[in-house]
Amino acid sequence: MGSNLLTLTFLIPLAGSLLVLLVPKESAGRACRWVNLLTSLATFGATLAVWSGWSKHTGGGYALVEDAAWIKAFSIRYHLGVDGVSVALLLLTSFVSLGGSLASWNIEKSPKGYHSMFLLLLGGMIGVFMALDMFLFYLFWEIMLLPMYFLIGIWGGPRRQYAAIKFFLYTLAGSVLMLAAIVLIWIKHGTFQIPEIVALVKAHGGLFGEGAEGLRIACFIAFFVAFAIKVPSFPFHTWLPDAHVEAPTPISMILAGVLLKMGGYGLIRMAYPFFPTAAATLGTTIVVISLISIVYAAFVAMAQTDFKKLVAYSSVSHMGFVTLGLASLTPEGHNGAMYMMLAHGTISPMLFMIVGVIYERAHHRDLDRFGGLAWAMPTYGVLAAFGIFASLGLPALSGFIAEITVFLGSFQSFPRLTLVATVGMVVTAAYYLITLQKVYLGDTPAVYRDKAHYPDVSRRELLVLVPLAIVTLWMGILPDGAMSIYRGDLEGILEGVKAIAGKP
């Protein structure tokens, strides 16, 4: 189609990342911030252009496709394209990164390195959502790891090295399994292109021919593990609390807002469509894993004393809904899972920013040492309450829509198991309200009263928090707006999977 808008979209951040390095040393601090902000803005603009380009694209399949041979020996192609699902996630990525770049305004420690890594990360993330060649997808997936390692490792908290290497190792081990599966598919079918493979699956009712159900399940598990680490689901989640607690606030925002969604996106785009029969057979196991993630993580969150760790565990709990929704193979389930990704993608950055605001002032995150902040910093109190109730799943906010749709969807396939998940709602309400009361209500210790050290939210912080709040509210009251972007394509994918998986 000739338009290379997609290449432009992911090149802007990469170019920005290089540009930041060229900024003269002495004025490094201020200049990098502006370059970062402008590049993030440009990227946001580009994603909007992609959105409009996509909406004008009629006919099925992917829009704004760019396809050129790249490595002939392995029939790898430079193949980019977007459909509803990718557009929604691209918008989320650039929106959250815009907030992130604003939040990283006063990073003092070698700002040039920070902002260039930040933009490299942004470029990697955007690339992942638009790659249609599995090799290219894997490439972007890995490119994104390196800056994340440095961002957590250099600018993080006290135990940052441990958290950084743990993050890198977990994701790399997962992605190595995925690589094996990708290469196996290439060997058996000679192509890396996602659309072609999906067509193959549709034609032959499954990859690897007749007798290879064992291999299909093995490959599905390889894909699932790689993405479950990213989601993160229960057994593979232990890296998230460490990574979040040690990462600086803006990086936590992006880690929670976008990186976790790549797991979900991978499941939607590759794991389920490639191995529908395996997904059906493993359905119950995946649902059990999701249930454990939801309820287990909620209980663990209740016992946390570090505010950020609590929000991290609540992320694990909320992302459990994504795998639950996908495993149900129902329209409501899939739409709900995707909606939870968008909802959680806006609410969790807001929560992490809220934790960041108080951490910047109090330099500690111990829940028991806070108290009555709502009276000391009124606007901050209101925003924090809004964020907490949004994450709680209060109606008229996006969290509720996502949870209800996932429940309705998964109830149709796994009635009894879904009832167990509803317990998670109560436990979530419990630990969030306990936190709200410990930190924001009750009497205000003297230390938090003096305005000099504890000013209310600054204009910059508001500029990050308010747009996120508005989106959460808009997605809560008029969900069809956000859902219409990805609904068509998502249900197309689901039909394909169900047709072969033989689900009723």
Binding site: W70, A73, E142, I143, Q161, A164, I165, A173
Partner: protein, 494 residues
């Protein structure tokens, strides 16, 4: 391809050796600057000859003088060893240890390259053994070069004793094979194996003993013990040379022998997901050795505190990956092995070069000496990071492509579990490759730490080595296609 043509590289190198020795003698004690130039030109000439062989198709895959098989494989490896020798000499100039070594150093390096190119071409047991020993002996002396250094002496002693014992085992194995084959040429051996010689029990013993020799050379488990001590004791540039050139020559010899011993390729019986590929005893031994080497290399490396020992274990681990290709032993796997060797050349030499520079700058080879390098010399640190990540196999660096080609060939044979073990080993290796990263970046920089200066020569050499590690990714397909041309010349599977 006349006999003289075939021996051209050896002749050039020998001439180089003589020239170097004369120049050194004539200079009467003053180390003339001329020496590196002489050895350099000799090596470049050999490289040119090898490229000429590759470019034109004058090789003709004929056996010359009954002992040397002139084919693309030999040409590639001669080129490989010549480049490795050249880089090692240059690395010594900038690295730690005696930066302006005497004539013997250059002579020995040139002799080693002769041995390697002959070993790559050897299709006769005698030539094979002679070349093998030539490479080993020059190696022993190179390691023990600095007579005053206690550690170098100890390293050399261990190296010579361990090497001698292993080559003893090998030659005993070869003698048994000679008995079976009735002749010293590998062709005769192949004929004997095809006609059922492999069923006799003594054949298995012979094979294992021969592999012991080669296992020592490529530092595969269980004969890898010498590597960490020797690499730590030896000057870094020499360690680099050993880890790349002698290992490549070892693999070349191993390919020739496996060609003869494992007559029928070790295709797995049932097509998919077979775990133990007991195609033939040869494949079995290689497969077990590969997994053992990989795991030993990776596990032990995680606990290292010395940079050179870490690189030693990493080269052991990489030997394990290469052994995987040998164990699968299909034409595709052979070209994957050659491709992996090339990527391994650039990565490892760069890694040892940086190690040498750091040891020279900070005086100690422990990883802690890298503290805050990221802030003291950003470019060096960045290059070092890229090489480390390439060794782990992170895209878009060259190491990833090597691994991809390698595992693709393994998966193609359906050895899924074998490939998964290899891939997971690769992932674990991130832990110890990230150790230097941690010291350089994650711990911030102590105040007043002196910036690390980089000599201009070292910078150029580093750039030459690092550039391909990153840039090759863009012109990757020509390299992949070229690797595939090497295979037919090996006449495998005939």
């Amino acid at each position: 391809m006349t006999a003289l043509g075939a021996l051209l590289p050896s002749i050039l190198l020998t001439a180089g050796v003589l020239a170097v020795l004369f120049a050194d003698a004539a200079a009467k004690g003053r180390r003339p600057l001329l020496l590196p130039w002489i050895s350099g030109t000799a090596l470049v000439a050999v490289a040119a000859v090898a490229v000429a062989w590759l470019a034109g198709d004058r090789l003709g895959d004929r056996v010359v003088l009954g002992a040397l098989r002139m084919d693309a494989f030999t040409a590639v490896l001669t080129l490989f060893c010549a480049v490795a020798g050249l880089v090692s000499i240059l690395a010594t100039l900038v690295g730690d240890g005696n930066s302006r070594p005497g004539g013997e150093f250059h002579a020995l390096v040139l002799c080693a390259v002769v041995g390697m190119s002959v070993l790559a071409a050897a299709v006769d047991m005698v030539t094979l053994y002679l070349a093998f020993e030539l490479v080993s002996i020059t190696g022993y002396v190179l390691v023990g070069m600095r007579r005053a250094d206690r550690l170098a002496n100890e390293a050399a002693m261990k190296y010579v004793l361990f090497g001698a014992v292993s080559s003893g085992l090998m030659v005993y194995g070869l003698s048994l094979l000679f008995g079976l084959a009735g002749g010293t040429s590998l062709e005769a051996l192949r004929a004997a194996v095809v006609s059922g010689a492999s069923s006799q029990p003594v054949f298995v013993a012979a094979v294992v003993l021969v592999f012991a020799g080669f296992a020592f050379k490529v530092s595969a488990a269980p004969f890898h013990f010498w590597a960490p001590d020797v690499y730590q004791g030896a000057p870094t540039a020499v360690a680099g040379f050993l880890s790349v050139a002698s290992k490549a020559a070892g693999f070349a010899g191993l390919v020739r022998v496996v060609l003869a011993l494992g007559a029928q390729p070790a295709t797995a019986k049932e097509p998919i997901a077979s775990f133990l590929p007991w195609g033939s005893p040869v494949a079995a031994v290689l497969a077990v050795a590969a997994v053992l080497t990989m795991t030993v290399g990776n596990l032990a490396a995680c606990r290292q505190k010395d940079l050179k020992r870490l690189l030693a274990y990493s080269s052991i681990a990489h030997a394990g990956y290469m052994l995987m290709a040998l164990a699968v032993w299909t034409p595709n796997a052979m070209s994957a092995l050659v491709f992996y060797l090339v990527t391994y050349l650039f990565m490892n030499l760069a890694a040892f070069l940086f190690a040498g520079i750091v040891v020279r700058a900070t005086g100690s080879s422990s990883i802690d000496s890298l503290h805050g390098l990221g802030f003291r010399n950003p470019w060096l640190a960045a290059a070092f990071t890229l090489v480390m990540l390439s060794l782990t196999g992170i895209p878009p660096m060259l190491g990833f492509l090597g691994k991809l080609v390698l595992f693709e060939s393994v998966l193609r044979e359906g050895w899924v579990w074998f490939a998964v073990i290899g891939l997971l080993n690769g992932a674990i290796s991130l832990y110890y490759y990230a150790l230097p990263l941690r010291r350089m970046y994650l711990e911030g920089v102590a105040e007043g730490a002196p910036p690390v200066r980089l000599a201009p020569g070292a910078a150029v050499l580093a750039a030459v080595l690092v550039l391909p590690v990153v840039a090759f990714f863009l012109w990757w397909s020509p390299l992949a296609d070229w690797a595939r041309t090497v295979v037919p010349s090996l006449r495998i599977g005939s």
